[in-house]
Symmetry: D2
Subunit: 282 residues, 4 copies
C-alpha cells in the first residue's frame, strides 16, 4: 500500500493567501430563502425570530474569531469584517471563508429551536459565502453603507408591499403594480395615509439591520464588566458611528459601552449573555 506513490497529488493544492493590509469581508447569503421562509411561515415583511436567529448565529462566529471587529446582518445575509491586520489561518481565503460559513450554518440549525420553539425546522438550510477585499478604511465604510442603504430600500418596499397584500387584500401582482415607479416619499405616504404607519417609528432592527460589536458592558450593580457581543441598530452611514466606535478601525481592545441591561431583557441579549468565548469554552 504505497502511500508515497500517491502523495504527489497534494502538490496540486494552491496557495490562496489573502493580500495583507486589506479589510477582509466574508459575506454569507441564504440559498433559496424565499422558499425557505415560505416553508417555515416567516412573518412578512420581517420575522423577528428569523432575524434574531441570524444575529445569534453571527455572534457565535464572532466569539470564535476575535479578529472580526464588526458584523452586519440584514434579511438572510451577514457580512463579517476581519480587521486588515487579521492573521487567522495565515490569511488563507478558503480556510477563513469555509470556517465562518460552516460555523454560521451549524449555529443556525443548532439554535433554531431557541427562536422558533414548537415550529420545527423542516429541512437543512444552506448559505453560500464569498470573500471581498477592501484596501482602504473608506472602502470598508462604503461597503457597509452599501449594505445598509440596501436594507432601507428593500425594507421600505417590502413594508408597503406586504401591507398592501396582507391588510388591503391586494394580490402580489396588484401590489407590485401599485408600487411600480414610486419613490421613497411616495411609499412613506402610502404607509402613513393608508395604514397609519409612520415608517420611522418601525423597529430599528427592521429599518437599519443589525450591527454586532464586541464591547465591555456593565453586568451588575457593582459596575463589574465583561466582554460581550452586543447588537446595535444604528446608522453606520454617518461618520458619527465611526467616531463613537473608534476602536474598530484601529483594532484596539473592546471599549466600554453603556449598554442598557435592565429587565426585561430582549431575548437576543439574554441569549448573547450566555455565549462563551472561544478560549473560555467547552
Amino acid at each position: 500500500m504505497a502511500k508515497s506513490k500517491y502523495e504527489y497529488v497534494k502538490s496540486y493544492e494552491t496557495d490562496d493567501k489573502i493580500l495583507q493590509n486589506c479589510w477582509i469581508i466574508v459575506r454569507i447569503d441564504g440559498k433559496a430563502f424565499h422558499k425557505f421562509t415560505d416553508a417555515h411561515n416567516f412573518d412578512k415583511p420581517n420575522d423577528i425570530r428569523g432575524l434574531n436567529l441570524m444575529n445569534f448565529a453571527a455572534a457565535c462566529v464572532m466569539k470564535e474569531f476575535n479578529e472580526i471587529v464588526l458584523s452586519y446582518g440584514q434579511s438572510d445575509e451577514y457580512s463579517f469584517v476581519f480587521h486588515r491586520s487579521a492573521n487567522v489561518y495565515n490569511r488563507r481565503a478558503s480556510k477563513m471563508m469555509s470556517n465562518v460559513n460552516s460555523l454560521f450554518t451549524s449555529s443556525y440549525v443548532f439554535y433554531w429551536n431557541n427562536w422558533f420553539g414548537e415550529q420545527k425546522l423542516k429541512y437543512p438550510p444552506c448559505f453560500d459565502a464569498r470573500i471581498v477585499l477592501y484596501p482602504s478604511d473608506q472602502n470598508l465604510k462604503d461597503y457597509l453603507s452599501w449594505r445598509q442603504a440596501d436594507v432601507h430600500i428593500n425594507n421600505l418596499y417590502n413594508t408597503c408591499f406586504w401591507n398592501l397584500v396582507l391588510n388591503k387584500g391586494l394580490t402580489n401582482s396588484q401590489a407590485e403594480e401599485r408600487l411600480r415607479g414610486t419613490v421613497s416619499s411616495d411609499k412613506n405616504e402610502i404607509l402613513f395615509t393608508e395604514f397609519d404607519i409612520n415608517y420611522n417609528n418601525l423597529p430599528a432592527i427592521f429599518r437599519k439591520g443589525t450591527i454586532l460589536l464586541t464591547k465591555q458592558i456593565k453586568i451588575d450593580e457593582e459596575n463589574r464588566t465583561r466582554k460581550m457581543v452586543i447588537p446595535i441598530y444604528d446608522d453606520l452611514i454617518r461618520e458619527k458611528f465611526w467616531k463613537e466606535h473608534d476602536e474598530l478601525l484601529e483594532k484596539k481592545s473592546p471599549k466600554y459601552y453603556e449598554f442598557p441591561l435592565e429587565e426585561p431583557l430582549p431575548e437576543l441579549v439574554r441569549q448573547l449573555l450566555e455565549l462563551k468565548y472561544q478560549n473560555e469554552k467547552k
Copy 2:
C-alpha cells in the same frame, strides 16, 4: 440615501471561475473533531453512528448537485468529486465550495438525532473546505487512492492503539510508545496474537472508507428501479473499480447496479431510500 454612491464597492469582487476541463474536488474536514468526538463519546477507534451521519450528510449534498459523480468519506473528512464538465454556478469556486460545505454542515446537524438518538448534540460542529483541481483522469484516481491509502494506515494504527488502551489498559503514551516504529505486518500481528483480531475481517467501512455513487437500483419484486445514492465499501485503488463503474469518468447516466435490498436493511440504506433528489423535493 444615495445607493449608487456606494455601489462601486461591488466592483471589488473578483472572478474566481475554475479552469475548465479539470476534475474539481471539494474536500471538507472537521474542525477540532478530536475534541468534538470526545465531547460526544464517540466509540473508538470508529463510531459507526458518526460515520453513517457523515455518509448521510454527504448523500444530501450529492442529491443537490447532480454533477458530483463520486464522494469519498473517511473519519471526519469527505471529498466530493465534480465531473470535469461540471458547470454549476458557472464554475465559480467560492459558490461551489461554500454551498457544498454549508449544506453538508447543515445536514450533519439537522440529522444528528437520526443517528445519535437520545445523545444530544452539545454544540455546533464546524467543517472547513478547500478546492483542489486535477487535470487528468489518472490524477483523480491517484487523489482518491491517496485518501484511501490514508484510511488504511490510520485505521490500522488506531485499531491497535485503542485495543491497547481499552482492552490492555495501556495509557495513551504507553500505546504510542508500543507502536512507535512498527510497520503494517507488526500491527497485524499485534492485533492477531494479543486481541484475536484478524484485521481483514473488520468491517469494510472502517478499513476502506465509504464511496458514494449514484446508481439505478432494483427496489421491488417487479424489478422496478429508481435512482439512488448508495454506499460502497470497495477498493478504489484497483483498476477493477473504475472498470466496473465506467460511467463515472465519462459522466454517463447512472447505471443499473445489483444492490442487495433484502431486509433487514442497514440503517444508512434505509434512510438513503427516503432522500429526495433536488428536483423532486419540497
Copy 3:
C-alpha cells in the same frame, strides 16, 4: 539604515504557481502593429522579412527554454507551448511569461537588421503576453487548430483585400465593401478570375503560419546530425501531423527529421543553423 524595518513588504508578493499537469501556452502579440508595419513599409498582405524575424526571435526563445515543445506563429503573434510536465521557474506564471516575452522582444530588436538590412528600425516595438492553460491533449490541439484556422481566414481575406487595393486601385473602403458577405469560395474565385492567383499555390508560410519544432537533422554527407529548431509549414489541424511528430505530446527527445538542407538554403534556415542552444552559448 534599518533594512529589516522595510523588508516586510516582500511578504506582499503572491505565489502564482501554475496548476501542474496542464499544457502552458505563452502567447505574445504585437502592440499596435498596424501602425508599426505602416511605419516600416511592410509588404502587404504579408512581409516575408517580418515573418522570418518573428520566426527567428521565437527560435531564440525555444533555444533558451527546452521545455517548449512547439511554437506557432502567424502575423504579429506567437504561441509557445510548454510541455505539461514543464518545471522551469517552478512553474511561476509571471517568471515564465515575462522571460519568454522579454527574450522574444529583445531578439526581435537585436536581429532586426539581419532581416531588414538597410531599412532601419524607427522606434522600439512592444509585445504583450498572456498565459493560458489547457488540461488535455485535445484542448492543446484545438488551441493550435484555432490559431491556424485564424490564419487561413485572415490571410484569404487580406490577400483579396490587398490585391483589390494594390492591383485594382480600389480604396480601402471599396475593397472592404467588395468583400462584405463573401465566403471562402467567393474569395478564391475573385483571386482566380481577377488576379490569376490560385490561392493554394501561394507560399505555405502565408497560408499555414509557421510551426517551430526541435529536431535532429542531417547536416552533412556523412549523415552526421545535430539538434536544431526547424520551421515547418504544415497543417496541424489534421491528426496526421500529431502522428508524424508523436514525440511532442510525450516529451520524448527530439526525433530525427528528414529536413532538406540543399543549397541555396532559405535565409531563415541558414540563420537558424547559427543559433546556439542555451548550454552551448556565450
Copy 4:
C-alpha cells in the same frame, strides 16, 4: 475550416484583473546580468552608461503609461509605480506587466548604441517582471525605502569589494574574506583609510539609485515650461521627499519643478528632452 469548432478554447483564458485601490508595482529585473555585464565590460562597481541606459529605457515606459507616477531604478532592476487609481488595460495584470516589460526591454536594446557607442551589444538581454500590490500609502513608501536601503547596502559593499580587487590586487575570494562580518562603519573606514574615498562624496546616482518623476520644467529664458520625465537622485526614505512631491500620492497633474538645465547638460537629461509622449508621437 470550421473556426467555431475550436473557438471554445478562448474560454480557458482567465480574468486577472487587479484589486482596485491598491498601488501596483511592476518590477523588472535583469536575467543573468552578472554574465551580461562581464560580457560587455561594464565598469565596476557601477557603469554610468549602463545606469543611464536603464534610466532612459524606464523613461520610455513612463512616457507610454501616464498612470505611472514614479519609477525607481538601481543596478539591473526597475520598479514602476502605477497610481492606485490606474485603469490602463482595465487593470489586467498580464497586460500591464507584459507591456511594461516588453517596452523596457525593447528600448534597452534599441537605445544601446546611444550609451555604449562603439561597443556593440553582443546578444539580446532579457528581463523578468513581477507585479506586487500595496494597499496603503505607507506600504508604498516602505516598498521604495526597502529598495533604496538595498542600494545603500549593496553599493557600499561593492565599492569596497571592487576597490580591493582593482586597486589593491586582491582576488575575488580574498576581497570577500576581507569584508566578511564588517558593518557599514567598517566599510566606510576601509574606503577612507585605504583608498582615500569619502563614500558620501561618491555620485548620488550610485548611492541613491535613480528616481524618475514627471514634472513641468522651465526650458528657456522666457520661462516657458514643458512636461518631462526627469531623474532625481534623492533620499525617498525621508518624509521630506513625499512632502516636496506631494502630487504623487494624490495623482495630481505634474507640478513645476526647478530643474537646472544649464549647459553642459548631462547626457541623460539631453536625451530625455528628446523623448516624446505617447500622444505626441509617431
